[in-house]
Symmetry: C3
Subunit: 210 residues, 3 copies
């Protein structure tokens, strides 16, 4: 089924993105591989722990192999990958969309409320990157730049909205994934960003100016 | 019941404290909301994962809504909140005490030993803040400053001590919570602090002086 | 049994290593104790959460007491421990080997695939240190220096290889543990290291030189 292919593709691309982040922190091949693994499968791991079900990659060893394959490709073709940054960016968005809807569906299948399902969909899609950034000792990118998790959030809510119309499940999934991808691509194209909070120092300076 | 009200109040105040920390790291509204959520509910999440029971906020969606409400209040009233720092500090201590005793009781209800129960009580109360600090890329505050988790620890042990007297449960809980709050407030008032370990460099300098 | 003694010894030595890392981050006694606990028992905790079985230290309070004892020894004898750095290093390698094989066996007992078992063996042995480093706000040591987790990885694979010969279990375990220890000690003695990835900046500089 096409959704499984996209899911595998997402694991693969997320894994490469882990290697690329690790490279800029001067990690060795082992560190890069671990971070690739967490980037690709960490979000789903948190989801499964919260749902108290078997962790996906424990049951399905293929997920591990795809993540490892991504890590190897990332490491071996490190110097060539900058030429494919546009392609990688696009498939990262595809992975974001796929992970969101699949994570959301899995959560609903376990009988959670819709709000929890949306949260766990976003977690599946975006928290691998959060773990990657924590392991690389930087503030998670998705907390301070660009529309990333928010694209997953909006797409997840849109999917739940579609479910009320009782269309074939396939169409809901397709439109939900497309919605996430579209928001992600548009947000980068047009430099959309969430507002940033003012620091204590900024507020103090403002008060003194008055 | 009054304990549930204090519990909700704790979630609310912890959530605001997450926003305030996030603000000084220049996070955007989404990042601040996620960190507010973890600060408020992360400690209890770890407790529930360790106890292998359903995560509290998956079962009780109200907890999510209260945490989100805290995040919204923190973001919207960001510039006014410095006037209420004393009030927030007090209710943070109330949350600390409530979370400790409730976490400890939940752990005992699952048949853990008393030492594990105290540890999970402290975890419930203090590890939301640890996750907050890790996500904000700083060494957790409670590991290096002020009596915070230690207040929870002492209060938790005091609660277990009280249980031997077979007083009505309500009185044990009340005194346990008060104990945590009192130690927390007194420690800040009188600048109590745990001793700090010497670094390798300090030790080396000392040896060279001899 | 000798394996249990080595396991306890590993908890003890890992706990001390947590205190020593904490000391160089100017943590207080409480922070050092928490980090000692995570260093000693954090890897096994992740393994048990992934396997969805009761967390080891929740069932066996002795593990908590040994970790706390290690923390107390680390704090009290802080200034004397530099004399024993060689001894501590050796027993750290022993702990690494023991944790790997015990973690791997536990995983197999829960019916996981061999690849998952090796991963969880390495996790048991090496991820306490990863959590320690994250809590101390630095990039995990094992991702960027020395052969550490890789020794656990090779030893774990070697153990699985031995199992095909149907020798007595004791011999497999003994040789697996020895394998990890040997690789660890030799790697430090001969400065073996994994290759490090090039950063974007380095690659850019190289391209410009051409």
């Amino acid at each position: 089924m096409w959704l499984e292919i996209l899911d595998s593709l997402g694991v693969f691309v997320f894994s490469i993105s882990g290697v690329l982040t690790a490279a800029n922190k001067k990690l060795d091949y082992f560190g890069a591989t671990v971070i690739a693994f967490f980037t690709a499968l960490g979000g789903g791991t948190i989801r499964d722990l919260v749902l108290q079900t078997k962790v996906a990659w424990v049951v399905d060893t293929n997920l591990i192999l795809i993540a490892l394959f991504g890590a190897v490709v990332g490491i071996v073709f490190r110097e060539k990958l900058y030429k494919f940054s546009g392609t990688l960016f696009f498939f990262d968005a595809v992975g974001l969309g796929t992970f969101t809807i699949l994570g959301l569906q899995k959560s609903l299948n376990f009988g959670t409320s819709e709000i929890v399902a949306v949260m766990l969909g976003v977690t599946t899609a975006a928290f691998g990157g959060v773990i990657r950034d924590i392991l690389c000792n930087r503030i998670p990118l998705i907390f301070r730049k660009e529309i990333y998790a928010v694209a997953a959030l909006v797409g997840g809510i849109f999917y739940l909205f579609l479910e009320y119309f009782h269309l074939p499940r396939q169409i809901d999934v397709f439109l939900g994934v497309i919605c996430v991808i579209a928001i992600r691509l548009l947000s980068v194209r047009y430099h959309w960003a969430m507002p940033v909070l003012k620091s204590d120092k900024q507020l103090k300076d403002e008060r003194q100016e008055k």
